[in-house]
């Protein structure tokens, strides 16, 4: 029985938990909300266990499907399903919420119940996006999750929060509006809102390009790709720690998910035609943004920019498949590229989430994010410094950490088709190391100059557990990537197949 409603429970359990949180919490007894939120987050994660253990890694079909008519007049269904692309993303969503809730236990003092509820609602909505197989249902979740995000920045954010939250909302909303138009057009042609039916649709090149652009604007804002990226650093700096974690670990993944779920399989010919354009944008995201990252003074802005660079590898992997097929006809390499893109999505969720959780811990004690205010933290917080070093190493893609695997696969896949694109992308190896370790040096090494740093307290037990969870995930994915790859294989193969099948 449970199996038939597993996905629904993953969506609605946290929402229910949020309602309970709101009801029981009060400013005088914030602990109740904390305990409930942690329990709900743990329960959601526990629900992922049967999800993984019953997952069929051989087939590409949607699993755990649920389908109920929702608005029969328009043929809109409440249809859910899970494949190898969504499975890791759902697990990440539950994991990230647990991390956010744990971090909030010690750091959020104001409106605790509301804060917890916001992030639990967000969890439900994000899971909804990843498992919806009906385009309208997908769109509803996609839009709905902007609201808790907007609120979290607007309520718990720092000084310039209203500018950032409005910028964030308008930017992302602008993209989504076009996506709705495209979805309605596809419904007109296919007679159904099921995403799978869109895959079968034949379209002329002109139509495909318009559809592609409609999707593109919506997804590239979310990823974000250069030049629609400037909302991200602002949103990150002003958001509370939890908001930043969710932004980096989940929100950005929606764009990449969109490319893989919609753009590539629905309009493959347009993708093929515009592949070089997308690859160039991705390279700009990787190289240009890395240089911009180098001179950031604010730690959160720095990590925000570095996220853009890392997501550049995802879009690079997605669109290189066409260039690989054109130049070398190597299906194996194209497969490696698209699988690498998926791995990079997963790795970045954990990596960037960990970086932001760490900065949140520092901010709680120091109330500043500027690197010049720090120096020599390794002396006062050795355990924290050691764990944060691991996060930095994953950020710069050291072998043995999660950050390495995806980049490695994508670079390997590309070399044959274009030496120069590969060489340009691989400069990330140098640039990420430069900005990440330069930051680490300025914050953690050196003599203690600020008396506030001398009074810093080492992280407590909850924070330690939280960071150890993240560190464990990063190491596990780096040392045993086969553990995740086995779930991706069938879906990656199927997606690649669809993406290379002409629809003209």
């Amino acid at each position: 029985m449970l199996q038939h409603a597993l996905l629904s429970s993953l969506i609605w359990l946290p929402m229910l938990g949020a309602v309970v949180c709101l009801m029981v919490s009060s400013d005088t007894s914030p602990n109740r909300a904390r305990i409930i939120a942690v329990i709900i987050a743990l329960m959601s994660l526990a629900l992922c266990v049967p999800l993984v253990s019953h997952f069929n890694t051989v087939g590409y079909q949607m699993q755990y499907t649920e389908n109920h008519a929702w608005i029969p007049a328009y043929g809109i269904h409440y249809a859910l399903g899970l494949d190898g692309l969504s499975l890791p993303l759902v697990i990440i969503t539950c994991f990230t919420t647990l991390v956010v809730v744990l971090a909030a236990c010690t750091s959020v003092k104001r409106k605790v119940g509301q804060y917890m509820a916001t992030f639990l609602i967000m969890q439900g909505l994000v899971v909804g996006v990843f498992v919806a197989t009906d385009a309208i249902l997908f769109y509803v979740f996609w839009e709905a999750m902007l609201i808790p995000m907007y609120l979290s920045i607007g309520i718990w954010g720092s000084a310039n929060r209203s500018y950032a939250s409005i910028k964030f909302f308008l930017y992302t909303f602008f993209g989504s509006a076009l996506m709705l138009a495209v979805i309605l057009y596809l419904r007109l042609k296919s007679g159904s809102f099921a995403i799978a039916d869109f895959y079968a649709l034949k379209m002329s090149m002109d139509v495909q390009i318009w559809v592609f652009i409609g999707f593109l604007l919506s997804f590239m804002v979310k990823v974000p790709m250069w030049p629609t990226h400037t909302w991200l650093p602002d949103a990150h700096t002003e958001a509370p720690a939890g908001g930043s974690v969710v932004l980096a670990a989940l929100m950005l993944k929606l764009g990449a998910y969109g490319f893989l779920r919609f753009s590539l399989p629905i309009v493959p010919d347009a993708c093929d035609k515009l592949a070089l354009f997308m690859v160039v944008l991705s390279l700009i995201s990787i190289i240009y943004i890395s240089f911009v990252t180098l001179v950031q003074q604010d730690m959160k802005r720095l990590i925000a920019y570095s996220s853009i660079g890392h997501m550049g590898f995802v879009t690079l992997g997605c669109f290189m498949i066409y260039i690989i097929m054109h130049n070398t006809q190597s299906y194996q390499n194209a497969y490696l590229a698209i699988e690498g893109a998926m791995v990079q999505i997963i790795a970045h969720s954990f990596g960037a989430g960990a970086m932001f959780v760490g900065i949140g811990i520092l901010y709680d004690q120091m109330h500043t994010r500027l690197m010049k205010d720090f120096s020599g933290i390794a002396k006062t917080m050795p355990l924290f410094a050691a764990l944060y070093l691991l996060f930095c190493l994953s950020n710069l893609g050291l072998p043995g950490t999660a950050g390495f695997v995806g980049e490695f696969m994508i670079i390997l896949a590309m070399f044959h088709s274009s030496f120069w694109i590969t060489a340009l992308a691989s400069t990330a190896v140098i640039l990420t190391a430069a900005y990440t370790l330069w930051m680490y040096k300025r914050v953690f090494f050196g003599p203690i100059t600020n008396p506030e740093v001398a009074n810093l307290k080492e992280i407590g037990p909850i924070e330690t557990i939280n960071l150890l969870l993240l560190a464990g995930a990063l190491l596990f994915l780096g040392l045993f990537p086969q553990a995740e790859l086995q779930f991706l294989t069938a879906t990656a193969d199927h997606l690649l197949h669809l993406s290379l099948l002409s629809k003209l």
Binding site: K167, L170, Y171, P227, T230, W231, Y288, F291, V292, T293, L294, V295, Q296, Q332, N333, Y335, L336, E339, G376, A378, K379, L393, L396, L398, P399, G400, V405, F408, M409, I411, L412, M414, F415, H416, F419, W420, T422, A423, S426, T427, V429, I430, A433, A434, L437, W438, K441, F444, F445, G446, P447, I448, L479, F480, P481, Q482, L485, Q486, T489, D493
Partner: protein, 651 residues
């Protein structure tokens, strides 16, 4: 066979487990605990490597692989985590664990007063683990794991005293420069995967014949051999770790780390990883004379010009650091001449005598209360007799005076380079010959400055504790004798200690002359007494003696006469200034332009907020139309009506 597999597993796991224990347990237990645990781990690894040495090299058991797990499978492409036990890897791990063990023991004394003692031992054990991974890997990926692992531990150990800004900066510099070469290494691995569809050494070597004729055009209409491209990319990777010019600048700075680290990582093991890599890939390099020529030129240039820098240094550790650069140049030049076995031989002897010199320097530094400037030393010979003797042995070995170990290994490299027919061989040979004189000069300059002459300081000095001089002796003995013991099995005998690990094609076999006409060990020593390199070495020592003991005014005069040359040496040929100007300041300037002008002004202010403002203005305009005043609406109505009528009537 079974016990060899167990030994292999212990070899890797012992340093890993004990390293982690030392790091974590160090927080709760007395520091002696982490020291003993780390040393026990290395001891187990050393014994395991001796068992392997005995089993495979002496008893001629076959080479074998041990499978750990499968890292990734992507359709037809599988990457296993496997280690390869063959002659080459066993020789390397024996040297690595031997030096590591002695340095661990020495560190008990050297780091006695340091509060972060457990952290130090944890790093050193983990470094050894990473180095063993690098050496034992049977595929490019695992090798890259170890490669980056040693880079990371080197970063952490250079920055061990992270509260010092200079140490933090040196560690950052070391890591980033290594990443530059890793970038090329990464591309090299991608190229290997692309053409061989595997990253396994054995598979790559088996298919070299098929790939050799293929070309790749990196620049339009410039077809280059694929093997050459792979070879050069991988060698650029090696240039970072093995500090070859122009990526050498991090090594002198790495002396910010504790001295035992300089001995272990920045002399004996990690910096030789590049040498090991090229030797391991000897079958591949044999297919590309172009890559070999490139290697030969870089190596010989390095051997001479980095040695010259050693002459003008005052910091004792920096002298030895430049010496390491120069000696690495010798090894690389040997590789370029296809004398892989001679280079490895020099790698092994260098590991002993350079670790010896660094540890002796460390003993001096401790005795001088952390003073490293040689101008403040002098006359230490009487106060530190054991260190004096050991340093002298190290210096003689470095200067390749027969019959020390350094003589045999360096002479084989010189012989090979003299025989090679690659373009640029004459230049290379000249550099290496001059280098012999320079080597003797800088090391005996240091020797005389430190141990002879008048004591320039009144600080009370005395011999260091036994836990520190005992490892010196343990290194001094092999520095003296392994040349005599090892030259035959390593270089001369067919199917000797290196077994079938290396591959050299007939025409490139530059050691052939030495092998076929090998006169025997002692005749080789006597022949050397009438050879040019020997007298160059002797004259280097004599010049050093004259200028720093007999007539101490000579160096200053020489500096004055050759002002331009002297200045360029003091500024280390301007590499640092150039890098700072172009790469550091240049990229920061460019980044600032990107960040504030393009991102800040063009995209954010103009496009994003600009469109916001535009909408604001348009809506203000629209607001004005809806003023709510009846007379304005009426006026618009009448004017429009009028315009409409005019339009209808006139047109």
């Amino acid at each position: 066979m079974n016990h060899l597999i167990i030994a292999t597993r212990l070899l890797l796991l012992a340093p890993l487990i004990t390293g982690l224990f030392a790091g974590i347990g160090g927080h709760f237990l007395p520091k002696i605990f982490s020291q003993l645990v780390a040393i026990a781990g290395i001891l187990v690894a050393f014994i395991a490597s001796l068992i392997l040495f005995n089993g495979v090299i002496l008893d001629h058991a076959a080479s074998f692989s041990v499978h750990y797990y499968t890292w990734a499978i992507s359709q037809d492409f599988t990457i296993p985590i496997d280690v390869l036990i063959d002659h080459l890897s066993i020789l390397m791990v024996t040297v690595v664990t031997f030096v590591s063990l002695l340095v661990h023991i020495y560190s008990i004394g050297y780091m006695r007063d340091d509060a972060s003692n457990p952290r130090f031992f944890c790093y050193m054990a983990l470094f050894t683990f990473a180095m063993l991974t690098l050496v034992l890997a049977n595929n490019f990926l695992l090798l890259f794991f170890g490669w980056e692992g040693v880079g990371l531990m080197s970063y952490l150990l250079i920055g061990f005293w992270f509260h010092k800004n200079s140490a933090a900066e040196a560690s950052l510099k070391a890591f980033i420069i290594n990443r530059v070469s890793d970038c090329a290494f990464f591309l090299g691995i991608a190229a290997v995967y692309t053409y061989f569809h595997s990253v396994d050494f054995a598979v790559v070597f088996a298919h070299l014949n098929e790939i050799a004729p293929l070309t790749l055009s990196i620049f339009p209409n410039q077809p280059w051999s694929v093997i050459t491209i792979i070879g050069i990319l991988l060698f650029i990777g090696a240039m970072g770790k093995s500090a070859q010019v122009p990526l050498h600048v991090w090594l002198p700075e790495s002396m910010e780390g504790p001295t035992p680290i300089s001995a272990l990582i920045h002399a004996a093991t990690m910096v030789t990883a590049g040498i090991y890599l090229i030797a391991r890939l000897s079958p591949l390099y044999e297919y590309s004379p172009t890559a070999l020529t490139f290697i030969l030129i870089i190596g010989s240039t390095q051997a001479l010009f980095m040695g010259l820098l050693g002459i003008v240094q005052w910091d004792i550790k920096r002298v030895i650091a430049y010496s390491t650069l120069s000696q690495l140049g010798y090894m690389v030049a040997g590789l370029g001449a296809s004398a892989f076995s001679a280079s490895l031989f020099h790698l092994f002897t260098h590991a002993c005598f350079k670790a010896l010199l660094f540890l002796a320097a460390g003993a001096i530094i401790i005795a001088m209360h952390h003073e490293q400037d040689m101008r403040k030393m002098g006359g230490l010979a009487r106060k530190m007799p054991i260190t004096y003797l050991c340093f002298l042995i190290g210096a003689l070995t470095l200067a390749a005076i027969p019959p020390t170990a350094g003589f045999f290994s360096k002479d084989s490299i010189l012989d090979a380079v003299a025989q090679t027919t690659l373009p640029g061989a004459h230049y290379a040979y000249a550099c290496l010959l001059l280098g012999v004189f320079v080597t003797a000069l800088y090391i005996f300059r240091a020797f005389f400055l430190v141990f002879h002459g008048k004591p320039a300081t009144r600080q009370a000095t005395h011999e260091v504790s036994s836990v520190m001089w005992w490892p010196l002796i343990a290194l001094a003995i092999p520095s003296l004798i392994i040349g005599v013991l090892c030259i035959k099995p390593l270089l001369i005998e067919p199917n000797g200690w290196l077994g079938q690990s290396l591959l050299v094609f007939g025409p490139y076999n530059s050691l052939n002359e030495l092998i076929t006409h090998f006169p025997g060990i002692w005749p080789m020593v006597f022949n050397a007494l009438t050879s040019l390199p020997f007298w160059l070495g002797i004259s280097g020592i004599v010049v050093a003696w004259l200028s720093y003991v007999i007539y101490p005014s000579i160096p200053a005069k020489c500096a004055k006469i050759s002002m331009g040359l002297y200045q360029s040496l003091v500024h280390e040929y301007g590499f640092n200034a150039f890098n700072n100007l172009i790469f550091v300041r240049g990229s920061i300037k460019m980044s600032q332009f990107f960040a504030s002008d393009i991102d800040g002004k063009v995209i954010d202010s103009f496009m994003v907020n600009g469109s916001g403002r535009l909408i604001n203005r348009l809506s203000n305009l629209a607001c004005k139309l809806q003023s709510g005043y009846l007379y304005q609406y009426a006026l618009v109505m009448i004017l429009s009506l009028f315009a409409f009528i005019v339009w209808q009537v006139l047109l």
